[in-house]
Symmetry: C2
Subunit: 551 residues, 2 copies
């Protein structure tokens, strides 16, 4: 009797299907075939076209040998091709590997090799970088070049030339079948994508997402943001960050419109907001500054309220006030690559809107509470795995648990086990939890600096500076920066008898580090230590802050 609910009631093809966001696009194309799915410059592409091109891509990739669990790497801007890859790659069973376009060639090469990449799709703008990376890599993937008509950069090779040995994306795609019978995942736990973290210690780690998590987070975005059917979304957040926080999939669920944008500049953003009637966008706080500080001539009046989702550092009160005045509703999100992007939201209480602006800003700066599809979020002592008191003061590690936590790190069982120790995902971020259950980040145990929305590992920068013969001790911390949010600041103790100016060390970094990772300031000083000899990064951060304020 007790087992009657378990008997004769099994899964079967009629009542069970793997969860996958791929079905969102199939539905959107079938129900609203003529609705505009993608806007890119003068291009307008319908859902019917978006779907059939994604199937063509899947078909073409399959004909080039991509099958279940084949890694397909892409280095693309926020373009229609990038959106097609979010569907076309998994539609032939492939795993989408989006590469940050600002990385050093050696790191790109590492990722290609580590991910067993079989195909690389590259925007012409990034082909020189990819060529360098491929020269360093062992992997010899099939190379495909995407020639975006909206790319207005240097056309040294003539506008339609392509890299030697590269297939043309459009030519390849057009060889595919628009009615390709795409592959459902065999299991919703199957990988849909891999995203490499910046790798604060050692090599970058490949975070694997599965179809189930992508489905759930994509819906979670729409529910969290109360996104209406046919919402219009502007791409300023790079899609190579956590698959654009899963918004490439969210938009199909609500049959909305993607407005693509290659470059994050104030004028095209303002124009898109006004001309396309954008209702939602995600971006680092720097995008807000960019919008607010744009020349008045570039700004546009908005007929609609625009929902702006931001993550990383909390925006200052004045910026929030300016954003509100300009017609934006700002929501603060938080998450990590390991949580498919945002898994925490500063879920706003209507009553808070009546508070004075500084109190509102203080509340807005908190990271918040769990997303609907994240089952648990807490701040815990990583030693005891006990939650810290909800006093807004006791520091602990932010921990996640639920269906929108990654499958694990690719080919790295040790790191995976460490990250999941005790049945929670350890974020490495330090924070507090307030009496109302809202968490707030206080520090980052892994010393990440976020500059212009990009993560910089302080350890990576330190490692390079340590290799300079004049450097004895180095500590790199975040320094507040008006434009970029943060920039690295390096504190240096020189070897006895050695000399080196900031310019020398800056030159040392050049060519070895991406430009945005090179410290904006070098400070030669005695570095403060604890009694046990540990560098007091907290004190250095205070110093860096004071220096920034002095200018």
């Amino acid at each position: 009797m007790e087992t009657a609910y378990q008997t004769g009631l099994d899964r079967n093809p009629a009542n069970y299907q793997p969860l996958t966001p791929l079905t969102f696009l199939e539905r959107a194309a079938s129900v609203f075939p003529d609705h505009t799915a993608i806007v890119h410059g003068n291009l307008r592409r319908s859902y019917a076209d978006f779907y059939s091109r994604s199937r063509q891509l899947a078909s073409a990739l399959a004909s080039h040998g991509v099958t279940r669990n084949t890694t397909v790497s892409v280095m693309l801007a926020n373009t229609p091709a990038m959106l097609e890859c979010h569907y076309g790659v998994p539609m032939c069973g492939g795993v989408l590997h989006s590469i940050n376009t600002r990385l050093e060639p050696a790191i790109v090469a590492f990722q290609l090799d580590h991910a067993y990449s079989k195909v690389v799709i590259v925007d012409r703008e990034f082909m020189p970088l990819m060529q360098e990376a491929l020269a360093l890599a062992t992997a010899k993937p099939l190379l495909i070049q995407y020639d975006d008509p909206e790319f207005d950069g240097p056309k040294d090779n003539g506008p339609r030339d392509k890299a030697p040995d590269a297939l043309d994306y459009e030519a390849m795609l057009s060889a595919g079948a628009p009615d390709f019978e795409w592959l459902m995942p065999l299991d919703e736990w199957d990988a849909i994508s891999i995203n490499y973290t910046s790798g604060t210690t050692g090599n970058p780690k490949g975070v694997v997402y599965h179809h189930r998590g992508a489905y759930l987070l994509a819906q979670g975005n729409a529910l969290t943001a109360s996104m209406q059917k046919h919402a219009i979304y502007l791409w300023t957040l790079p899609m190579f960050h956590c698959n654009g926080w899963c918004f490439p999939w969210t938009m199909s669920a609500i049959m909305g419109t993607h407005v693509c944008l290659r470059q994050v500049r104030a004028e095209p953003i303002w124009n898109a907001l006004a001309d396309e009637g954008v209702t939602h966008l995600c971006g680092a706080p720097i995008v807000m500054s960019l919008l607010i500080n744009a020349p008045e001539a570039e700004k546009r009046a908005l007929a609609q309220t625009v929902n702006f989702f931001t993550a990383a550092a909390p925006p200052p009160a004045s910026l929030l006030a300016n954003m509100k005045e300009a017609g934006f509703e700002v929501t603060h999100l938080y998450g990590l690559t390991e949580t498919y992007g945002p898994a925490v939201v500063n879920d706003w209480h209507e009553s808070w809107s009546a508070l004075p602006p500084d109190q509102q800003a203080a509340l807005k700066s908190r990271q918040g509470v769990r997303y609907l599809p994240l089952e648990a979020l807490d701040v815990m002592d990583p030693q005891t795995m006990q939650p810290v008191p909800r006093d807004g003061e006791t520091l602990g590690e932010v921990m996640f648990r639920g269906n929108v936590v990654m499958k694990g790190y690719f080919r790295n069982p040790e790191a995976t086990q460490e990250a999941f120790a005790g049945g929670w995902f350890h974020s490495g971020d330090l924070g507090v939890i307030h009496a109302d259950g809202y968490i707030q980040l206080k520090d980052r145990s892994k010393d990440i600096i976020i500059s212009g929305g990009e993560n910089i590992s302080s350890i990576e920068v330190e490692d390079l500076l340590y290799r300079h013969p004049a450097v004895a001790v180095v500590a790199v911390v975040a320094m507040p920066h008006e434009k970029w949010g943060e920039t690295p600041c390096a504190f240096i103790e020189l070897e006895a008898g050695q000399e080196a100016a900031g310019e020398t060390l800056r030159d040392w970094c050049r060519g070895k580090l991406a430009g945005f990772k090179i410290p904006g300031r070098f400070v030669f000083t005695d570095i403060p230590r604890t009694s046990t000899g540990k560098i007091q990064k907290f004190a250095l951060r205070e110093q860096a802050k004071a220096l920034a304020e002095k200018g």
Copy 2:
């Protein structure tokens, strides 16, 4: 290499939790503890209270022996207790069995026995019916009486008296622990509820829902209806129908407010719409007629647009026009008990709103396309299992496939296998599919009559009439009815030499059938047959329609 994405990336407590809508309430109570979850008359209950009372209920039920897979039956109106049962029962592992309050005692008794019911929670209004049913049943469940202060019916026993041997709901609940550590399902495939169909042939069938499906359909409602955070939902749809189409769970996902209502009457509905700022409600077309045909003095001006979701028969064009004028946006849904309620939506195209009213009504009367969490919907030939042409003319059987299709029929593997034959759920409904993929019902192969939102099996009525000695042949079909949508119309051929008036047969039905199932009209005639002797129900429906028009 090909299996690298499968290695060391297993499910673990940090990255996998069973999907269950119970976590929606936990989240709502934790993030918006003070937000109003439930309005019922003068009662306003916060999410903190809703959650802690649900946990108390779970705790109390556990102390009475309810454990995993124990059936808890309820016969309740749309009250706070009914909402609590949707959480409290599964929170102790129980399976919620909601009983239609309009059924005959014998059918209730059958359900209690068949479902192995261990506990029955009954609203005082329905206690006489339940007592009759318990007298017929073999099961001897623990009896609990809910005494709703809003019940203003006959108080023969005095307002606070309860049935002999019945526990008082509030007393029982208050003995439970508000911080009860409720049980997550062991597997998302575990049963969360059981809902009996009307049983067109043979005994009623117990449709089993699982946590996964309830989670997905609850979210699907919010996404399909573009429901904003804190939406306000009015209960006119009985929660004993498919668990209120899963809206008891949807509302927690969006932290909205339930407005309860015991009785579907025009005045309290209009008052709730205006006074509580209701944004959404579901109801049979009869609720629309009720609202529109209410005396002007009862109608209220609405500050907000109200989204009205209706199912069953398509509302006529004039009613739709009146609804629009009164401030309602009507959406047509379709589904069955076996699909958790609505799994099909008439997803509206903006461009259609520019068409003439009659064309709009024609488009609105179509059932539509798959819900987001339903993976496939088609009209097929049940013999060949091939889809019919998309011509809007070729009749086939409506078939469903996906995660919001039931687990199966309880203790009925034959019916389950039959329903899932060929890997699709066979709805038994006949329809066509249009060129744009929207389906439209044309007939019901099981001859269901829908009266006031209630399903009536024509076969059940025919069976009873066949038992009258004067009746030779009987065929019961739906006759259009201004108020109820449809009412049964019985066509009778008498035995040679016998006589019987309509009144005789009506008396025959009385006491054996629920009032709404008794035919509104008895027609004595030669019943048309096909050449193979099959009754032409189609022709009879035409006759009934003509009779209804004549009045």
